[in-house]
Symmetry: D2
Subunit: 351 residues, 4 copies
């Protein structure tokens, strides 16, 4: 098979590191450009000793330029901060490259919503209509034809996959949804900052970003599309003293008349029966983040509570693989007509 | 000062271990009896090497008998499983001992509620009316006169202290309360079991006991007393990959007309201004479990969300100190007319 | 390619769990039998939720019998305690099966040494001469022709690979070698026991098994073969508050005249230049366990100290992959003429 | 009792944080000045939320000046980097203040040794002769009369206490001593740096600073004084994925004729029988860092190995309390004629 040459801008963060790992195992994608302002000039294998001896180790890290990308790459992954991607994408598209963007710059369909929640002017509004939200289970067809894919946020990935079946099949109310999410510390990024030090994070637990975390409008937008109506949710993220994984506990009200627990379970099973990455657990089982570690799986546990008339849905994903780099690779697979799970078969250690 | 001689039945669990630690620092309580079926015959300092060289180390662990208790103790702490305490308490009271019971046996006022949630017949129903729920901030007067104190559960302690001000002052609705709690692994106890092994707990996160954890009726009973009406809540505990600490994220609806954030904050501050262990954080600050580690503090963060008309309250406690052994000692202090915080001044390491 | 059918006896331990993970990714080995006394009757995918949806999930766990093995398997992996494998192996070999044994039963060449250190009579002494010590870098040829491979211990794997170059090339003395090893908690096994509970292991560190850990004679035997003389070493293992990984810090004396640091480094590089799994770090770099997580890599850092005339060698491996299941699979690959790294290409998440 | 007013320069590091914790419990020392360049102007209780409601919380952090110190303090603790303390101490002493310095500036008796290992010129050489090495068990008398105490390094504290009895009583050789130490991550300090991030430290283990860590000459100097001869040791520190605690595994050779294990044990017991903070474990028991967490204890395990003629000594301390702030407070107690353990009685949670 011919190789697909890909570039990665932003190798120093955890999502970029994860993509380096995954690309080293992909049978047909080949990393040909790795960019970082701070680390330019270093061999990638020196910067990431785990890569030594593996595909990609010999690449020399460079400063990003559209010219290098155009000459070396078919597709570019952007793992850069919000506000930066929108400056890079137009030129990359003009140079006939495909782009998968990890940031939020192209996830929100409406400029004012982006500007309200991110506090930045949007500089590439004209591209918003063509950007495809890269959740393969929901939008595989559009992703396949896209030039620009907005890779979903980690929390939204866990939430949308968790609630999709219940909203789609109208078994829950659309108001009064509360999402209590907990993420491993890789979600806080790889910036040198005291609150992210080992001694500050280990043996402790806290909420953050309440009540207006930036993933809120992304969740509301996508859940609203599924439900067919505008939605407002309460979203509260927390920081776990562990590296990887997101667990979202989602509280919803069952519609009247409430289906039985078995009927609810059947709705979830039926919805996902052709999606090998979505594993609906048996009634009575609850998911654990370790079981999806380093993979694309989303495990979903459903807890109907007849006493309170609620349906609690718990979903777990790996925030770096499903929530970032793995999903980006799945999207790139679709954009090149490859099976969505190419290079994503490995089962990482549980711990 | 004369010593108060105390016994501890159930030294091998984490709550018992914590009480051993705290008693070694108490100026006037003296451990005179330490019971464990499995470890009888061992010196306490050998069993708990951290105690070596400290008060209590030379006690020889014994099998529990009312006779030994009667001859050696003024008060007995029971750190035994649900169902066991109710068998021990009547004889201890007849022997004129005071009792602080860590279990749930005397927390629920109504026998049928106990039997429904714990699946056990209650064998000492006649003592339920006199048992006092041992939350010092709420019931100090009754505790002072009690023979039998039912030490609160760890989760309920965090929840009741967190919601008390808002319910008492009628600023939130009593329906539609969701409590998403997360506890360190000491909460799962010290029993040898595969799911509690280091390799199973570390680097992972999961919910458990949904939707009917046994602390639910205790929470509903006590919140109901504060609100002055029967209450139903949704309570969901989760297991954190760390040792100590509980954080409860509590979702409530503000009553109409909603007070301003500053007014809400003032209600909390005013309610707790004479309670040195309750620290209401400034608006915009969120609590962290590490800041209360090994102490009696309950730190409370309040998050009014005007967008959703909700009040989110986040409380943190140390599950072993405030949630078990420290609170038991505070109750014992009150039962002997000592200042409630006697022996509870130390500030444990954050980490 | 035709499948190689393999059985695994002892699925419940961490090495067995790791082999289940690795087998689910192997292109030509297929798990056809999974045995456990305690868990017989359960579907493997139910017992290990991470396997759900992957190859092997539908196998029903069985009690071990030679008959089932003979009818379903070409090769059997034994992940059973010391003393048990020696009872199973003779019948398996008679049934014309190949065996890779994870235990120590066939690692020590001399029965009296086994019996002294393991305190058990050896019941299959006649097989000791044909058992091959399964360290692929050293014994690939013999492994390829073996019926019975004794898979090395985790600590010995890290030590032998670390010291091989220096002993082989006679740059260090053979007396006075001290090996200070540190292992993640998976090394302590998956038995329900209080000292292995999360709360006992996390936030703590201790040595264990001093001064006569059972891996000592295995290390001495294999180092002695390399050096060409009998050797005595000091070996001290410690338990790390983390899941995976072994780091061995090895203190040796340089022979006179001592080579320069650059010459020493060159000896190591030259020795391992054709072994892709052995990565000799540049002078001045030290290895970290995370960089080999879930892989077959052994990273080696060398620290010549001119002040003390010592050579310190630090090696890291993943104790479950290189130190157990991955190495077993590599051995099985060799026994079937496959490339040694078949199915072992994946790069696990660093964390 | 009258208060002793103390200042702390360098509150933002972990040692400074620990001293804030300990001072809040001291019956007669009172924090009256807290300095930090970066945090000047903040209330201490805001900066350290765990202090809120405790003594010291209302102090406003200031920039250090000798004038403020002279007007507010009797004694100053310096928790500042190497090279900074030597600039502050002369003026503080001239202002008639006592000083306990956490840094290495006054630990090494000889300027050239300091300059060789620290790479800095010494600017206060004239004070070296009067500075007392603040290990209370060895130098209590001199500390009591000192104006300037050099608080020992964390690793040296664990090593010197561990080897003292064996060197003092001449049961081990003075050559060929290897010290393999492992420290929790608080030892790496509280600077914002990528290698100290949670995700980089957790689930991993590594050595660092080999073979010339700066604590080496301090260890050699103090061991040499005990042995009565110049000594050279091999010292190798490692970084543990946990917060607190140091464990040092020390390899020594027994002198001929070697005493029996019981005799060795008796030497240790006898040496330390009047030192309540030094706990010599029974033969066969090994120390664990958790048992000394947050305390001044040094637990020592001794492992004679007749097979190799070595004596292995394992010592554990809490690196922040015994290895820094607690020891500093003990020194200050001695300097004011207080019992050495004043304010150091508390028993921190094991975990």
């Amino acid at each position: 098979m011919e190789h697909i040459n890909v570039g990665l801008v932003g190798i120093t963060g955890y999502a970029g590191m994860e993509l380096c790992r995954l690309l080293s195992m992909h049978p047909s994608m080949r990393l040909t450009m790795a960019c970082s302002r701070a680390e330019a000039g270093k061999r990638l294998g020196n910067f990431y000793p785990f890569l030594e001896g593996l595909p990609g180790a010999d690449i020399v890290i460079s400063q990003f330029s559209t010219e290098e990308a155009a000459s070396k790459c078919d597709l570019v992954f952007l793992a850069v901060p919000a506000g930066t991607a929108m400056k890079m994408v137009p030129a990359l598209l003009r140079a006939d490259l495909k782009v998968v963007d990890f940031s939020a710059d192209f996830r929100l369909n409406h400029r004012p919503v982006f500007e309200e929640w991110y506090g930045l002017p949007h500089e590439a509004e004209s591209l918003l209509p063509e950007a495809v939200y890269g959740l393969p289970e929901l939008y595989a067809g559009q992703i396949a034809g896209a030039r620009l894919v907005a890779n979903p946020g980690c929390y939204p990935s866990s939430v949308i996959l968790g609630l999709y079946a219940a909203l789609q099949e109208h078994i829950i109310r659309t108001d009064n949804i509360i999402i209590d999410s907990k993420s491993g510390a890789t979600g806080a990024g790889r910036k040198a900052a005291v609150p992210s030090l080992f001694c500050e994070v280990s043996d402790s637990f806290r909420a953050y970003g309440l009540p207006r975390h930036r993933h809120t409008p992304e969740i509301e937008q996508e859940l609203g599309k599924i439900a067919g109506e505008a939605m407002t949710v309460q979203f509260s993220p927390h920081l776990l003293p562990m590296n990887r994984g997101i667990l979202s506990t989602m509280y919803t009200y069952l519609r009247d008349p409430a289906p039985t627990p078995e009927e609810i379970h059947e709705v979830f099973r039926e919805t996902w029966k052709k999606s090998p990455w979505i594993r609906v657990l048996p009634l009575g089982k609850l998911p654990e983040t370790r079981y999806v570690r380093g993979t694309m799986f989303c495990d979903i546990g459903i807890v109907p509570d007849l006493r309170t008339k609620r349906l609690i849905v718990i979903s777990v994903i790996d925030n770096l693989c499903r929530g970032a780099a793995g999903q980006a690779m799945a999207n790139a697979n679709l954009m090149y007509g490859l099976p969505v799970d190419t290079g994503l078969h490995e089962v990482a250690p549980l711990f």
